[in-house]
């Protein structure tokens, strides 16, 4: 596999000015004042991305993931280290930043294409696709300043995904447009994957990464703390979020509750499709706490099968060891291994207090003939 992106020893330092002296008078009057502080946004990042890979870059706000992305796109230059790229790159960073609002949508398609590094002839070739994808046919000759924000973003997205890039860089933009347009964007990204293009997806939405990426890199305050298969990286990401949250926890609840184990009476997590399963979750608490119990079930490919209501299952934990019993009445899933995450959240269901990622894996066996994820027990007959 050809290496398409090579990030080698990349560090980025920003100077933060506490008092900005940008006028000549101020510079002359205060030649030394106005302290500057050096902020290390990225520290010695190394990874490579092969052709056709979809890499997720995950991290909470301020972890440096956008800085890294901007370095890869060439918007920022790394302070040390270098990034080597092969092929053309289109970035979906802050869509529409390159638009000239005084110009029409038509003119902007060409201008934005040129900014992304594509020739006029290439843009000619895809013009109709861009217009069709963006769904603004009737406004294409209207000045962009009269566009709604949705139209604006749709147009920019349409240009970026239709210009035939070798590398597509996506930064949190899947949150744009209505649900239908979002689905269209995800479809397009999946098609890019099938076509063997390289994709970098930056987000703090773990579900998106799970659904689209084979591999993920986790950043935390400028350092790379994980690089591996999506599931492993996300586990590290979540654990890190928890330890991080413990440090900034006003009520000092975090870390006082632990999920010790998940077990079944028989010790086995194998279950026949259609049968029920009972398991016990052992939780130790240092102080009494009333919260909610939540569980999630994922397929091995990262598809969320079910997430329980975060406000629906109150538990009153007592100091010491508690056992929460969970009964799954009947599991309609088909053959496969399903990963179970369990956790305790606060009474309003907003904050996670304790979490165990992949606390157990449930193996479902199915000997029927339906295919897919769940058994619908369809009975089909001609009337």
């Amino acid at each position: 596999m050809t290496t398409v992106i090579e990030v080698e020893g990349v560090s980025k330092k920003f100077k933060i000015h506490h008092e900005r002296h940008q006028s000549l008078k101020e510079r002359l009057l205060h030649p030394r004042s106005g302290s500057t502080e050096v902020f290390e946004a990225l520290q010695d990042i190394n990874f490579t991305v092969g052709e056709g890979e979809t890499l997720g870059i995950v991290g909470h706000n301020g972890s440096g993931k956008s800085t890294l992305l901007k370095c890869i796109c060439g918007v920022l230059k790394p302070t040390t280290g270098e990034i080597r790229l092969r092929g053309s790159l289109a970035a979906l960073l802050e869509l529409g930043a390159g638009f000239q609002t005084e110009l029409s949508g038509r003119d902007n398609i060409y201008l934005y294409g040129a900014m992304l590094g594509f020739s006029r002839r290439m843009v000619d070739g895809i013009f109709d696709d861009v217009v069709a994808f963006s769904e603004i046919e009737q406004f294409i000759d209207t000045q962009v300043k009269f566009y709604s924000s949705g139209m604006y973003v749709r147009l920019a997205f349409a240009v970026a995904v239709n210009v035939d890039p070798d590398i597509l860089v996506v930064d949190e933009v899947l949150a744009v447009g209505d649900e239908r347009f979002q689905a269209k964007c995800v479809d397009r990204i999946k098609r890019f994957q099938q076509e063997g293009r390289t994709i970098l997806l930056v987000t703090h939405n773990a579900d998106q990464v799970r659904a689209l990426c084979d591999r993920a890199v986790v950043l935390d305050s400028g350092e790379m703390i994980a690089d591996g298969p999506t599931r492993d990286s996300l586990r590290i990401f979540r654990e890190h979020l928890m330890t991080d949250a413990v440090e900034h926890d006003p009520s000092h609840l975090l870390g006082t509750i632990h999920i010790e184990s998940v077990s079944t009476p028989s010790g086995s997590f194998e279950v026949k499709s259609g049968a029920g399963l009972h398991f016990d979750v052992a939780v130790t608490a240092q102080t009494a706490y009333s919260g909610n119990f939540v569980m999630e079930l994922f397929t091995r490919t990262g598809l969320l099968v079910s997430r329980s209501d975060a406000q629906g299952s109150p538990v009153n934990l007592l100091p010491g060891r508690n056992v929460v019993g969970v009964d799954l009445g009947q599991i309609p899933l088909l053959d496969g291994v399903y990963d179970l995450n369990v956790g305790i959240v606060d009474p309003r269901g907003h904050n996670v207090i304790a979490w165990s990622e992949r606390a157990a894996s449930i193996q479902v066996t199915y000997d029927g003939r339906e295919g897919g994820l769940v058994e619908l027990d369809a009975s089909i007959r001609q009337q």
Partner: protein
């Protein structure tokens, strides 16, 4: 036009494609190659600059000719009719210097603020940043040619034949003008990011610079005699725009010595009486200097560019 590509492996492999490197230090050759590879963007920005300027106006781009033609008309009225200064067809002398100056000045003034004004773009889209300054220069080049056309029409209308032989030097002179203007525009656009006063300061300095260049007066008549006695002629030509302006005047105004139209027959030395060869050599020399200036400007820009993101 190829329709939506079929799903499946793409035929194109990246195996042999060249590798682009993003790192802190970029060599001058790479910088220039990067700018060259994005010439389509440069062209696109120039066109959009001009489009925006004349958006929603009926005459559109023709304004870039109507406006200078009108200015020229006013100068004709003022200098040929009301305030006769003795130079026959002074309007041609004035305008041939003025088009050079207009290109220089409008480029520098618009380009100085351009990186700060378009911070949103600079912070989000990747392209060689000097292209922004170069696009302002490019737009000025377009207006320059519009004004040159107006000048040509006026020269023809007044029955004033240009010095065709000297016209061969004009392309060299123009390229020097372009390179010098670009060099200063690039450097100023970067400096203005760190010192926001630059934009205002440059406007003041340009006014001074204008009067240090023989555009509204004659170098040969007003300045040369005084400098010549002290052997300081070279000082005046330290201003590189002077040679370009004088070359343009030599081509369009032609006469080096004229009989005044006001007083009874005093003779005015308007332009240097240099030979064609001297004009050529000086212009080739200036071209060399301009080329070096452009490279130096690119190198300076490369140094200053590194910390734009902390300042914008």
């Amino acid at each position: 036009m190829n329709d939506a590509p079929l799903v499946g492996q793409r035929s194109r492999s990246l195996e042999g494609t060249p590798v682009r490197v993003v790192s802190a230090r970029v060599s001058l050759a790479t910088r220039l190659a990067n700018v060259w590879s994005r010439r389509e963007l440069l062209l696109g920005l120039i066109v959009s600059d001009i489009r925006i300027k004349y958006k929603n106006s009926t005459l559109g781009i023709f304004w870039s000719m109507v406006a200078p033609a009108f200015t020229l008309g006013v100068y004709y009225l003022v200098f040929n009719i009301f305030l006769k200064n003795g130079y026959p067809n002074f309007v041609i002398y004035l305008f041939s210097g003025l088009i050079v100056w207009n290109m220089f000045q409008s480029s520098i003034i618009t380009a100085t603020g351009v990186i700060v004004d378009r911070a949103a773009l600079v912070k989000k889209v990747s392209f060689p940043r000097e292209i922004l300054a170069l696009s302002n220069v490019g737009a000025s080049v377009v207006y320059f040619f519009a004004q040159l056309l107006v000048l040509a029409i006026v020269v023809a209308a007044l029955g004033h034949a240009p010095a065709w032989k000297f016209a061969l030097i004009l392309p060299i002179s123009f390229v020097s003008l372009y390179l010098l203007t670009s060099a200063l525009a690039i450097v100023m656009s970067a400096i203005n990011v760190y010192l926001r006063d630059t934009k205002h300061l440059i406007e003041v300095l340009l006014q001074l610079w204008f009067y240090m260049t023989p555009i509204v007066y004659s170098y040969e008549h007003a300045i040369a005699p005084h400098l010549q006695i002290r052997g300081l002629t070279w000082i005046y030509f330290l201003n590189p725009i002077t040679l370009i302006v004088v070359t343009f005047q030599r081509v369009f105004y032609v006469n080096t010595i004229v009989h005044s139209t006001v007083l009874p027959h005093p003779i005015i030395d308007v332009l240097p009486t240099w030979s064609f060869d001297k004009f050529l050599i000086l212009n080739v020399l200036l071209f060399g200097i301009s080329l070096v200036a452009f490279f130096v400007a690119e190198a300076i820009f490369g140094r200053l560019e590194g910390e734009f993101e902390s300042e914008l």
